[in-house]
Amino acid sequence: MEGFVAKHVHDYQNGRISRRRLIEILTLAATTAYGGEGAGAAESPGLDAALVNHVSYTCPDFRRAADWYSMVFNLDQIGATARDVALPFGKKGDKPYGVSAGDVPLTHVICRTRPVDAPPGNGSTRRQARAVIDHIAFTVADFDRERAKAQLSTLGVKNVRDGGPFSVYVNDPFGYEVQIAGLGVTAICGAEARAICSDNR
C-alpha cells in the first residue's frame, strides 16, 4: 500500500496527475485495500492499449466514403466485400509511426454499410450507446495549415475551417467531422506548450 501511495504522490508532485485524481485514487485504494475485496483491488492492472487497431465507420454508402478517405489521405482500399472495405494507414509491411513493438499492426479505417444496431461481431444485440465519437483527428506529415487548406481546396473539399493554428476541420461526404492536424497537436497543451501546439481540440 505504501508503495502504491508513494507512486501516485510522486506522479502528483511531478504534475502527471491532478490533485483531484490523486484524491480519487487514494480514496479508492484506502476504502478497498482492507475492505475484504483484496488488497490488490486498487492496483488491479489494466491492459496497455498500444494503438488504435481500427475505427469502424458506418455510413449509407461505404464505397463513397472509402473513395473520399482514399483521396484525401492517400489510402489504399483492401479486402473489399459487398458491405465493407479496409483502408490501412500504409503499405503491407510498414510499421506504425513511433511504434517499436513488433506485434502492433497499422491502424486502419473500416468503411462499412450496415444497420447501426448490427450485432457487435458476436451475435448479441448491440446496445444503444449513450456516447458518441463526434469527430476524429488524423495526424498527417509536414502539416501546414494554409498549405493544407489549399490542398483540400484542390481536392474539392468544401467547408474547411480552422481548428486553431495547427489543424483544420472538414466534413466528409456524410457530414462526419474530420480534423487534420500535425504531430505537434498532442494531449499536452498546457500554458507552456501553447506556443507550439494547438489549444483547440
Partner: protein, 181 residues
C-alpha cells in the same frame, strides 16, 4: 512529367504504391497535364497520414469515462488538460511522436472550430478497436473480468462495453489486421 512518372514507377517497383494507385496517379497526372498544370497532380494525391491524432468522445459524464479508460486500457490522463468538463487520455507512442489520445468530454464541451456532437449524422463510428501487444488470451480475459466487465467476442478479438454502452473492441495483431481480412 517524366520525373513525376519515374518516381511513380520507382514507388511501384519498391512496393510503396500498388498497381491501382499507380494507375490512378498516372491517369490523374495525364488529365491535369492536359489541362496545362502538371504540378497540380502531385498536390492532388492527398495527405500522408501518420495515424490517429485523437478521438473526441462525448458522453454524459466525462470523469466516469476518463476513469474507465484509464483503468481498463491504462490510458494516462493529462492532468493539465482536465478542466472539469473534459480530459485528455494518452496512449501509444509518446505525444508528438505518434501518440494518440482520447478526449472524453461532457455535452457542451466543444473544441473551437468543431461543430461538436450533432444528432442525426449520416455516419457514425460505431466502435473502436485497440491493439494490445504481447497478447495473452487468459491474461487479457482475466484482466477484463477483474474489472467487472462482460466479455464477448472470439479469442484474440474481444468486445466489452464502456460505462456508456459504447462498444470497445480489444484485439491482438494476429486477429485484427487489415492485411489479413
Amino acid at each position: 512529367m517524366e520525373r513525376f512518372i519515374a518516381d511513380l514507377v520507382q514507388g511501384l517497383d519498391s512496393g510503396k504504391i500498388d498497381r491501382r494507385e499507380f494507375c490512378k496517379s498516372v491517369a490523374l497526372a495525364a488529365a491535369v497535364y492536359g489541362a496545362g498544370d502538371a504540378a497540380r497532380a502531385q498536390v492532388q494525391r492527398g495527405f500522408k497520414i501518420i495515424g490517429i491524432n485523437h478521438m473526441s468522445y462525448t458522453c454524459p459524464d466525462y470523469a466516469k469515462a476518463r476513469n474507465w479508460y484509464a483503468s481498463v486500457l491504462n490510458m494516462k490522463s493529462e492532468a493539465t488538460r482536465d478542466d472539469g468538463k473534459r480530459a485528455n487520455l494518452m496512449f501509444g507512442p509518446e505525444p508528438g511522436k505518434g501518440g494518440s489520445f482520447l478526449v472524453t468530454r461532457n455535452p457542451g464541451s466543444v473544441a473551437s472550430g468543431s461543430a461538436g456532437a450533432k444528432p442525426g449524422a449520416e455516419a457514425v463510428i460505431d466502435h473502436v478497436c485497440y491493439t494490445i501487444p504481447n497478447w495473452d488470451e487468459a491474461r487479457v480475459r482475466a484482466t477484463l473480468k477483474a474489472k467487472g466487465l462482460n466479455v464477448t467476442g472470439r479469442d484474440g478479438s474481444l468486445h466489452v462495453y464502456d460505462p456508456f454502452d459504447y462498444d470497445v473492441q480489444i484485439a491482438s495483431a494476429a486477429e485484427e489486421n487489415a492485411f489479413r481480412r
